[in-house]
């Protein structure tokens, strides 16, 4: 989620006084308020609405939502007569570029900051941390057209990047410039890097990393800007540019189009501000929402959301990226209708409940064991090799998690180590400790990954006979026949360890925990334990 700060003074100029009702409206439009200061309201923006990533974008929608304006806001562009040429020399990973011009802007320090913020936020959200694309702004006055977008060898690229004292190469930018280092991972493996060059051969920028300090720095005297977007996704890039320039238009600018000649020589005039059309059926709206709206209501609600509607067709603003299907418009209608205005219903539909078999077994086992004064525990299923294998004196291949952020990096393969760890953490608590837990365990055998539900139980200050009594009682209560066959186990004492058979099938292990294991868990009491595979037990019931 992205955060946008709304300047309250500027907002009030458009909406009138900021009241609790307005705050509620902002929130019910889909921008929950996270925090508020005397100057600002901080709102959360969901990823489907990148057009909300600026104050202008939110205001634009809020004004129709609260009824100060109505329907589609029209944006138009004039022809600039300029060209952008996208050349075949580009790295294949970065094939597209689009650009246009905005004139008549009046920048001050605040506005420059704001524009940079929108650019950054579009880059980090819609354009996926610039992996999908990057946006750049340049003072128009320095540029000679046509501008070319070309690929160059990293060592041949040479310009002074933004806020850097001197000219360096493309490769050096990725190594030395702070922004270069931040985004180097996107393009450091490419043999060529993309650059914008103007007619006089001046390097303007190296997208999606950084602009030239000389060619690509906006200041307070800038009134006309060249705006470009480059990257990997033909559609999303155009949308990102549309969001950027409509925001600049809302700041008072006039949009001028540029003919962008793509690698395949196809000329695309940018920006494309023509509203997209989509059909909507009032019947579908009512069916999905459970309402009885008329066409005129549908029209009213769509207009509240910044669309136009006429005869079953919706004109969707060009800055919206999230309308893929009729349901997206139906949601807009629901938002305009107001989620708070829906009367909840419980349908009169009869269905029969059903409890999962394994849950039934788990609950019955818990009931039996609680009757024997046992305490149920609840532990993480992600563990460490240390706890799972080393302290248990066993060797197993565990399922490893890539790039886990904590020390817990492996999936547990058995339940017993979890219980031993709990005993270890409760050394100072009154004994005896009688605990059990039912949980998922994860195993890897010959590259085959399996999940099982296991039950483990430990008794401290206890012995084989006592833990066997518990298991036999449990089996008896589940109407199962339990038998034991002597075996050995790395974590248990030899001669006091047995395989557990239920109705002739091997389902687990029982025994006294070996003192070397007890010591490694820093315990000073004898422990007896068993562990059963419940999926196998379930099949026998």
């Amino acid at each position: 989620m992205a955060i946008v700060n709304l300047n309250k003074k500027l907002l009030e100029k458009k909406t009138g006084k900021i009241t609790d009702k307005l705050r509620n409206r902002i929130s019910m439009m889909g921008c929950p308020i996270e925090a508020e200061t005397p100057e600002e309201i901080q709102v959360d923006i969901t990823p489907n609405r990148p057009d909300f990533l600026s104050q202008q974008g939110i205001e634009r929608s809020l004004l129709t939502f609260i009824g100060k304006k109505k329907g589609l806001r029209k944006y138009t562009s004039k022809k600039s007569g300029y060209q952008l040429i996208v050349e075949k020399s580009l790295p294949k990973e970065w094939p597209y570029a689009f650009a246009c011009i905005v004139k008549g802007l009046k920048f001050d320090d605040e506005k420059i900051k704001e524009v940079i913020q929108i650019q950054e936020k579009l880059g980090s959200t819609l354009l996926r941390n610039r992996k999908k694309g990057g946006i750049g702004l340049y003072p128009l006055e320095k540029i000679k057209f046509p501008v070319k977008f070309i690929g160059m060898h990293p060592d041949k690229i040479k310009f002074r990047p933004l806020e850097f004292p001197k000219e360096i190469t493309g490769r050096q930018i990725l190594q030395k410039h702070p922004t270069g280092r931040d985004y180097a991972s996107i393009c450091e493996k490419w043999s060529k890097l993309p650059v914008f060059v103007d007619k006089s051969g001046k390097l303007m920028s190296m997208p999606p990393i950084i602009n030239s300090h000389d060619m690509g720095k906006i200041n307070e005297s800038t009134t006309e800007v060249f705006v470009e977007v480059t990257g990997t996704d033909f559609n999303i890039l155009q949308k990102a540019l549309t969001i950027m320039v409509t925001t600049l238009a809302d700041l008072g600018g006039d949009i001028y189009s540029i003919d962008c000649v793509q690698q395949n020589k196809k000329k695309i005039t940018i920006p494309n501000l023509i509203p997209e059309k989509m059909k909507i059926s009032t019947k579908n709206v009512n069916k999905l929402l459970g309402l009885e709206l008329k066409d005129k209501d549908v029209k009213k609600f769509l207009e509240m959301m910044g669309h136009d509607y006429s005869n079953g067709t919706v004109s969707i603003p060009s800055y919206r990226v999230d309308v893929l299907h009729e349901v997206d418009l139906i949601e807009d209608i629901a938002i305009a209708y107001g989620y708070e205005n829906f009367n909840e219903t419980i349908p009169n539909v009869s269905t029969i409940a059903n409890e999962s078999k394994i849950e039934v077994l788990k609950n019955k086992i818990a009931e039996v064991l609680i009757g024997l004064d046992l305490l149920e525990t609840y532990s993480h299923s992600i563990t460490t090799y240390e706890d799972e294998c080393k302290k248990m004196h066993t060797k197993k291949e565990l399922i490893h998690l890539s790039e886990a952020k904590t020390n817990y990096k492996d999936m547990r393969a058995t339940m017993l180590p979890s219980l031993m760890k709990i005993l270890s953490n409760n050394r100072d608590v009154d004994y005896p400790h009688r605990i059990f837990e039912i949980g998922k365990v994860f195993e890897k055998r010959k590259n085959e990954i399996t999940e099982k539900t296991n039950l483990a139980l430990t008794l401290t200050n206890s012995n084989f006979t006592e833990v066997r009594q518990v298991l036999e009682y449990l089996a008896q209560m589940l109407d199962l026949k339990v038998e034991f066959k002597e075996t050995t186990h790395d974590s248990l004492i030899e001669g006091r360890t047995a395989k557990v058979f239920i109705n002739k099938q091997e389902v687990g292990i029982i025994g006294e925990v070996h003192p070397k294991v007890i010591s490694d868990f820093r315990l000073l009491v004898p422990v007896a334990a068993f562990e059963l595979e419940l999926d196998k037990v379930l099949k026998l019931i």
Binding site: M28, G30, P32, T46, R128, K131, K132, N235, L288, L289, G290, L324, H325, E326, V327, E331, A334, I335, Y339, E340, F342, E344, T345, I346, V349, T351, A353, N354, S356, E359, N363, A366, I370, L374, L375, E376, T377, Y378, S379, H380, S381, I382, I399, H400, L401, S402, E403, A404, K405, T406, M411, N426, V429, H433, R434, E437, F442, N447, I449, E451
Partner: protein, 509 residues
């Protein structure tokens, strides 16, 4: 007098036993005189204190006690004594011989030597230790030896020469220790004095009353006509703790019951899933931030995709929207990315799988689960890499958005939150999407619980092959549970502090 009679009637046997010795005034002496063990005397005195018969005072006292080496030397003699004995036998010893003869370590021999020299019982002649003491001097016990044998002793009782011995011994390793000991003393209250004057009454009362009712009495009826000794109800009883389910599971059982009461069938399934089920089948685009390593646990291994038809349907909705009328995400869907294995990030995986197996003849159908999910997080008081969700879906040709709100409202009312609020939100797999807030009746604020919505056609039509609204939700569960048990820190769910588990209240709703 009535007060004393009442008191007599509730005295326990051990209190009665200790009473005749009460004027002795000191626990250990009462014990030795009465033959009761000290613990029993302590308990009796505590009871009497409770009843106002005596008033206990606790004071810290410095006690001199034997250290580990002290115990050893009491058994084996001090090193200087051992050296002196060796010298008395051989008259003259080299350093090496002394060690051997007196069985001393390097450290001990130098201490022993220094001590004997200081006491002028030995001197060096031609570089050898030579005895310089009469037989009488040899036999005379050292001050230190007498002192060690007298321990433990309170510091306040030490005589000047004992203090000197203490100073000498304290310089040596682990022979004596000074310990702060809690010492209790008591005085007899005026009520106690009255009681002591009536000891004969105490005796008489105990003779005529029954302490423990046993089978013999019941058989013979010998209890008839006798009075039972009264108990002091004010005295507390030691705590009990029984077996019980973990508090987390108690609340999960309750949530399961709510769904089943509403006619929902339970879903179950694996934690480890392919990205296909966790993301792709739910229309989460392959470049979605949630699919990155820093958010999701990935395994090295890859899994298998389900049957081709389903994979094709999912691929189609991602790329072009397929037959759903959607535009899709418009990118090239990569089968390999879908094969990656992940720890499920939401229980919605189970809903997706359930839908692919559901026949049209089984509509309307309702499913739920309460299950564990995972995200690659660090752990602190409000983050954990494991969390629980309560998931539900309703497949019903007539289901509406209003029904969705109705089911959720019902669930949260039963969970103790009758006031629920729904806000617009966004999830890639639902449209409309909602965020659920419930009003916390005590904290008087809205608590955010998670998401719900109606599955997008890109999800429901790809999985089910039919056009039908599917209501879906998956709000977090841990937060409601924490609120109920007044736990602030998420880590406590998994801490398994046995004391906490023993004392934690039950989930009652």
């Amino acid at each position: 007098m009535e007060e004393v009679d009442k008191l007599i009637s509730i005295l326990s046997p051990i209190e009665r036993e200790v009473l005749p010795h009460l004027s002795i005034g000191e626990e250990s002496k009462i014990a030795s005189e009465s033959g009761m063990d000290v613990a029993k005397v302590k308990r009796a005195l505590a009871y009497l204190d409770n009843k106002g018969v005596i008033k206990m005072r606790f004071e810290e006292k410095r006690m001199i006690v034997l250290g580990d080496n002290g115990h050893l030397y009491i058994k084996n003699e001090l090193p200087e004594r051992r050296l002196l004995i060796a010298l008395s036998r051989k008259k003259q010893l080299s350093m090496q011989d002394a060690k051997k003869e007196a069985k001393l370590s390097d450290n001990e021999v130098s201490v022993a030597l220094g001590t004997l020299k200081k006491k002028a019982l030995m001197e060096f002649k031609q570089g050898k230790m030579t005895l310089n003491a009469s037989n009488k001097e040899i036999l005379k016990p050292f001050l230190e030896e007498i002192f060690l044998k007298s321990l433990p002793k309170p510091f306040s009782d030490l005589k000047p020469e004992e203090k000197l011995a203490l100073e000498n011994l304290k310089k040596r390793r682990d022979i004596v220790k000074v310990e702060e000991v809690k010492h209790s003393a008591y005085e007899i209250t005026s009520l106690g004095k009255k009681l002591l004057k009536n000891l004969n009454k105490v005796k008489a009362y105990s003779k005529n009353t029954i302490e423990v009712l046993n089978s013999d009495m019941l058989k013979t009826g010998s209890w008839k006509g006798k009075e039972f000794r009264h108990y002091d109800i004010k005295t507390g009883a030691p705590k009990l703790h029984g077996g019980k389910r973990h508090f987390m599971n108690q609340s999960i059982q309750y949530a399961r019951k709510i769904w089943m009461d509403m006619g929902f069938q339970e879903m179950e399934g694996d934690i480890i899933n392919t990205a296909f089920w966790d993301f792709d089948s739910l229309f989460v685009p392959q470049d979605h931030p949630a699919r990155e390593m820093q958010d999701t646990f990935f395994l090295k291994e890859k899994g298998k995709l389900p049957d081709k038809k389903l994979v094709q349907a999912v691929k189609a909705v991602h790329e072009t929207g397929g037959k759903t009328g959607s535009k899709g995400w418009q990118y090239e869907w990569d089968e390999e990315k879908a094969k990656r294995l992940v720890l499920r990030t939401h229980t919605t995986v189970l809903s997706a799988k359930t839908l692919t197996n559901l026949k049209k003849s089984e509509w309307p159908a309702k499913f739920f689960t309460v299950g564990r999910n995972y995200r690659n997080e660090t752990i602190d008081w409000k983050h954990s890499f494991e969390f629980n969700q309560t998931e539900g879906i309703v497949v019903d040709p007539n289901a509406t958005f209003r029904d969705l709100l109705g089911y959720l409202k019902q669930f949260f009312t039963k969970m103790g939150y009758p006031q629920a609020r729904f806000r617009p939100s966004y999830f890639p797999y639902t449209e409309p999407s909602i965020e659920i807030d419930v009003f916390h009746p005590i904290r008087k604020e809205w608590v955010e619980l998670g998401g719900a919505g109606i599955f997008r056609p890109e999800v429901s039509e790809a999985l089910l092959g039919e056009k039908v609204p599917i209501l879906a939700w998956g709000p977090g569960f841990d937060r409601i549970m924490l609120e109920y048990y007044k736990i602030k820190d998420l880590r406590e769910i998994y801490s398994n502090n046995i004391n906490q588990l023993r004392n934690m209240k039950f989930w009652i709703k």
